[in-house]
């Protein structure tokens, strides 16, 4: 019989972190723990209890699953200093919860003797897994869902992180506003996002020139718009031959962030490692995979991928 129990363990600062451990039946246990890391505010449960749905399936396959709240979030101790949600998300992407994730693995190792981990999570959870894996090789592989590549865009840096796809999508909207008096007033009174408008115009000229002069080229990024920690963590996984599967939602901007901002910019560095990571796109899905069919596809592919890597003992 598999078991689900409440667990608590301290992080390095002595904050008690609370979570739920799903333990498989002894007979089927593979000796591997999937860390389902918290996406952020939505805690160890995940949006629409996604993490419970994933845990229920993986524990039946013999995986331990640990999901817990980071300090300052969910049920765990501690308080965060950020006032803006975007700042809090950016701090996660910058590696705020690496120590908590290491503490979770230490606790699993000390209490259950498990030292092999799959880093996983949605959005903030997957980036936490990735940046932790850079410094801790107990994370043997990454099962990422909606892995964010660029930092959250506040008004001050939104223009910088827009992907080409987003710019093209916004173009029609902005051009449509040219005849709208309210929008013109915003523009003239200094309230518009001039950097965004500038990037739209620049892209428009670039597209026109490309159409005139040459056959269309794949999108290539000349500026690194990724989270400064992303590339080094991603490369660390590849260079140490640790495999990754990355699930992206078809309707999510993050898929373009990854392909344009990361793969486009780092093409030469990752060329020889493409066999080590797989991108699985779930068409039409939104960022949180809220439709049951999307969850079913995610689980089907994830299970197959995990079983291949961790055969039954």
């Amino acid at each position: 019989m598999s078991e689900t129990r409440c667990v608590s363990f301290p992080n390095q600062d002595g904050h008690l972190l609370h979570g739920i451990l799903h333990e498989p039946d002894h007979a089927t246990a593979r000796g591997v723990c999937v860390l389902l890391l918290s996406p952020g505010i939505k805690g160890r449960v995940g949006p629409h209890r996604l993490y419970l749905k994933i845990s229920a399936r993986l524990v039946l396959l013999g995986f331990h699953v640990l999901r817990f709240d980071y300090y300052g979030l969910g049920d765990s101790e501690g308080e965060l200093s950020e006032r803006a949600l975007a700042d809090m998300y950016n701090s996660i992407q910058a590696g705020r919860y690496v120590d908590d994730t290491v503490a979770a693995m230490d606790w699993m190792q000390e209490t259950l003797g498990i030292r092999r981990f799959v880093g996983s999570g949605l959005c903030g959870g997957s980036i936490s897994a990735l940046v932790t894996a850079e410094i801790d090789t107990r994370i043997e592989c990454l099962l990422g869902m909606g892995l964010p590549t660029a930092l959250e865009g506040g008004p001050e840096n939104w223009a910088r992180i827009l992907t080409k796809h987003q710019i093209v999508s916004l173009r029609g909207k902005y051009f449509g506003k040219l005849t709208d008096p309210k929008s013109l007033m915003r523009f003239l009174s200094g309230k518009s996002s001039y950097q965004v408008i500038w990037r739209i115009i620049k892209q428009w000229f670039s597209d026109r020139k490309a159409t005139r002069d040459a056959p269309p080229q794949p999108a290539k990024s000349d500026i690194d718009r990724t989270n400064p920690r992303f590339a080094s963590a991603f490369m660390a996984m590849l260079e140490s031959a640790r495999p990754m599967i990355l699930f992206f939602a078809g309707a999510d901007r993050l898929r373009y962030q990854f392909s344009e901002n990361f793969e486009g910019h780092h093409e030469a560095r990752i060329r020889d490692y493409k066999h080590l990571y797989e991108v699985h796109l779930i068409p039409d899905a939104n960022h949180v995979f809220s439709d049951p069919d999307w969850v079913a596809e995610l689980l089907r592919v994830a299970e197959r991928w995990l079983i291949t890597r961790y055969p039954a003992q």
Binding site: C6, I41, K42, H48, G72, G74, A86, D87, S290
Partner: protein
Amino acid sequence: MKEEHLFLQLNGERVFATHHRPTQPASQAIVMCHPLGEEKLWAHRVFVTFARDFSAAGFAVLRFDFRGEGDSDRPFERSDFETRIQDACLAIDTVRVLNPGVTAVTLLGLRLGACVAASTAMRRTDVSRLLLWDPVVDGAAYMQTVLRANLMFQMALHRKVIENRDALVARLSNGESVNIDGYELTEPLFRQVSDFRLRDALLHVAGETLLVQINQDETSVKPELAAISETTGRCQVQTVQEEPFWREIKTFYQRAPELMRVCHQALEATP
């Protein structure tokens, strides 16, 4: 003070709960009822800090997840309003067992959790006070706003609404579910909540009630809350300025100080 995370047992199912035990034996307890679906997740940290602050002030506090939500058992689609009331009753019984010195129990609820709290108080004689934060006044109107999430989902997916509200309601009546932000809404929950009217429930509640109207800006009391207060007796309304922390907002909301202050005042007044 101490926090214990536990699974309570209810007819073979488990209800996840967190008990905030004060340093000294408590004479007053607070049981907190969370709102529906994603609102629960957005509001979670305010619930946690509220529970910790009141526990530090000497109250025994119990937070719990309704079955079908959070870490409790049961898929969402098999939970309804009635199971939520059963869970709230279990939480009250538990906080009493864990704190034998408790003589007064306050039920607190946010949004739909306020409806559960009011309906639970109707059935019990041991709830001395209700604290209802931004309560749902008209269950039918609320359920229409819940369905709106599905319409928005259709717009995002198909760029148009394929099934309107009437079609969604018909689907529910046929025993099918309707996806609301990833939660499968089914007919029993839809019908039971639609039948709920706060005024009718409060007419049958013996204890004191504080209705807390939460607004971002300074504003006067909403007429529907004022009307409830006038007709039900033993019921007051207060407005507080806080952001709607049960929704996705730009602010990272960890605590609601105005709400805390008002609740402190109300609880200090409890005999």
